[in-house]
């Protein structure tokens, strides 16, 4: 988005459509539009305010983690542990509340725990110099294991406290509260990405890590910060998910890492680093939730879901690539 804004200055006179299509992440908007039109025609249940809000709410957990993933991927990294951090933070908050702790204190502890796990990822990557993929694969496995050891696979449930339920189930006006949380986080991280040093340094590392080092950027500090913030976002997601089902299950967020990465890349953030599209990520997450919602509404046999979702990811990302290619070829 930041790029789009700036691009627009460049060819001030080019038509809006062309600009939109050429911009990084335009594919996702196109894909989303096509999907929404198709589903609106195909089923009467789809295009209702209720359903739209439900879909967005279903996308919230992935979208929130996607914000962190966008930073990480823009920095040229990857994080496979997001789902596991979500899971363990959910268990932590549930166990603490169930154990009788004050809810707000429990929330804070869970958030801090999320930051710690992110920080550990950061340490492995910066201090032990492990490849991101491997470091976070390791923490994913360890955290999932710890959840198992702690819960023995049995959920922590019975969290019927109104304040806690409100987090994921509440409304402000007709807008679900988690959507508001998402928007607030998007706002904060949008500014962080495009209006602060942190964002610049993140992008610069993804763009050319050697050069970033040569201009004196403290790369380790930036990476630690980004992974820590991502841990925080995962903790928020984990808390919301726990609040939503009033229980923390051992396998919560299993496999989410792939959804989150897919949403980020569909949204136009390039895996080669140096470019970020935060708004695109959110749309990407909503897109993935919409596909699943559509599959359910259209009564597509569950056996086919994976095929459709896989094909959809490929199509959505190629749209982006193709429109970018057309742009650069002209």
């Amino acid at each position: 988005m930041g790029n789009q804004v700036e691009l627009s200055k460049e060819n001030k006179f080019a038509g809006t459509v062309k600009k939109l299509l050429s911009a990084n992440g335009a594919g996702v908007v196109l894909a989303y539009a096509v999907l929404v039109i198709f589903l609106s025609i195909a089923t009467p249940y789809f295009f209702t305010l209720d359903n739209i809000l439900i879909v967005i709410r279903q996308a919230v957990w992935v979208a929130i983690m996607g914000i962190g993933m966008t930073f990480i991927i823009a920095m040229g990294g990857i994080d496979l542990s997001v789902g596991a951090i979500l899971g363990i933070c959910g268990v932590i908050v549930a166990a603490l509340i169930k154990g009788g702790m004050n809810i707000y204190l429990a929330l804070i502890i869970a958030l801090v725990a999320g930051m710690c796990f992110g920080f550990i990822n950061g340490l492995l990557i910066t201090k032990l110099r492990l490849a991101e993929f491997i470091a976070t694969l390791g923490t994913m496995s360890i955290l999932r294991g710890i959840i198992m050891v702690y819960t023995q696979g049995i959920p922590v449930y019975g969290l019927r406290f109104p304040e806690f339920q409100f987090l994921a189930q509440g409304f402000i006006g007709f807008v679900p509260f988690p959507i508001i949380i998402l928007l607030v986080l998007l706002g904060i991280f949008y500014i962080l990405m495009y209006r602060t040093r942190l964002g610049r340094y993140t992008l610069s590392i993804g763009s050319n890590e050697d050069a970033a080092k040569l201009v004196g950027i403290n790369i380790d500090r930036v990476k630690l910060t980004v992974y820590t913030l991502t841990g925080l976002l995962c903790a928020i997601s984990g808390i919301l998910l726990t609040s939503r089902s009033e229980a923390a299950v051992a396998e919560a967020g299993n496999g989410y890492e792939l959804d989150v990465i897919a949403a980020t890349v569909i949204g136009g953030t390039s895996m080669s680093g140096g470019k970020a599209n935060l708004v695109g990520t959110i749309i990407g997450a909503i897109l993935m939730a919409t596909v699943r919602n559509g599959l359910n509404l259209l009564q597509v046999s569950p056996l086919w879901h994976q095929v459709v979702i896989g094909a959809f990811i490929i199509v959505a990302v190629s749209m982006d690539t193709l429109s970018a290619k057309r742009h650069s070829n002209q």
């Binding site: 790029n3 700036e6 691009l7 200055k9 460049e10 500014i191 962080l192 209006r195 602060t196 040093r197 942190l198 610049r200 340094y201 992008l203 610069s204 993804g206 763009s207 050319n208 050697d210 050069a211 970033a212 080092k213 040569l214 201009v215 004196g216 950027i217 403290n218 500090r221 930036v222 910060t225 680093g273 140096g274 470019k275």
Partner: protein, 510 residues
Amino acid sequence: MTPILSMENIEKSFNRVPVLEKVNLTLNRGEIVGLMGENGAGKSTLIKILCGVYPKDGGDIILDGKKVNIKDAEDAQKLGIRTIYQELSLFPTMTIAENIFMHNEIGYKNHKGLIMPLDIKGMNRIAHKVLNDRLSVDLDVTRRIEEIPLAQRQLVEIARAVYSDASIIIMDEPTTTLETKEKEQLFKVMRDLKAQGKAIIFISHHLDEVMSICDRVVVLRDGHNALDERTSDINMNDLISAMIGKSVENQYPKVKFELGGPLLEIKNLSSRKKYEDISFTLHEKEIIGIVGLEGCGKNEILRTLFGLCPHDAGEIVYKGKGLRLHNIRDAMNNRFAFLPGERKVEGIFPIQSMAWNTTIASMEKILTNRLVSTKKETAIARKCVEDFSIKVNTPSQLISRMSGGNQQKVMLARWMQTNPDILLLEEPTRGIDVNAKTEVYKLITQYVQQGKGVVMVSSEEEEVLGICDKVIVVRNGKINKVLDAASASLEEIKYYSVNDSADDTEGASC
């Protein structure tokens, strides 16, 4: 007055091979010091120690009379040292303004944290102003680096160093891709900085540049101090002999051969927005130089001949037959070879060995029964080390651990290995030292003698005049003037680079 910087008895070795031995360098406020030496003499290593890229093995760095310990680039920056590195260090996906202000941002509040809100409009404005006022280029600072040509990138890198509160500015071969005009701008900026009391270390292989801009020159030879004199007290020959231990009589060993038949005929070639109506003929045994201002389209013309840029009109006739160049392999199958200008990005395979880098474009030469023969590979690499006087410990040394100029020689060697009929060169001697340049020119001359042809793009007019037969001056995407190198002068090239030849009659009449 204490010098602002003094490096004393600096020592450095890589894998037990000494690169710097008790090297000294002092720098005063308001002084420009030239740092010279052959390829691999240790210049870049010395300044990288100063910038915190490499730790030193011994010696002291004294800033303003205080001994300092520079652990990393951040330390160096805090101490007021800014560097333009030999290999560009820009951020391709980011804008010009973002690059110029990288790690030197302006914000609404003034604190050092990562979360400071940035004044983006203000930075764009200042970036534009810096480029415009100090370097006299008018660039859209919101364009991304990957969208602008190499020479402009170099300017951005210069602007980044200029716009900083650094008191010491180091420039490692900043002029290699600059055109005359931009070079002059750079020199003007350097004088301004000097007037402000800043100190500059300037590395270049161009003696004339060093003699004209520097107050003092320090020469390194094989990692030792070989000379430290005021430029006013010495002449070029002193410099050369300090660097290589002998003098060079004829820098350009041009032999004019009888041209053969036409090899490559370019007819009315056009590419939308890049260049139009380009026609010329390359004969056997001919070397053609293409010159022109940055952005005039000369590189695109050359790249079109290697199948890298599409053209939408016109014809390429090769050895009498029409040639379609859709991609690189079309060009390579016709025995074309292309040396790209941006070595680090488009040339070297950094984590592979020198031998690997030498033979990668001509692998059939090192295959026995379709399998790589390490023996053949090493033999070829050793021969290239000889021919191009490459400084390398063994052919198995990683190329990224060789000096810039030596990497450039490997690039040339790589392409000569392919036995091309047509050699397309972008800045062939970029970063190569005086002595080795002569060797390279000799090799190119020997090579055309076998009935081959060379087209080169260079920002060094002397070089073009020195070894080419014909010089094509391109201006705004069109051939403005074709000069005979034997009779043309530097002034003519400069003149036609900036003035339309259609104005000639008027120009002459005045």
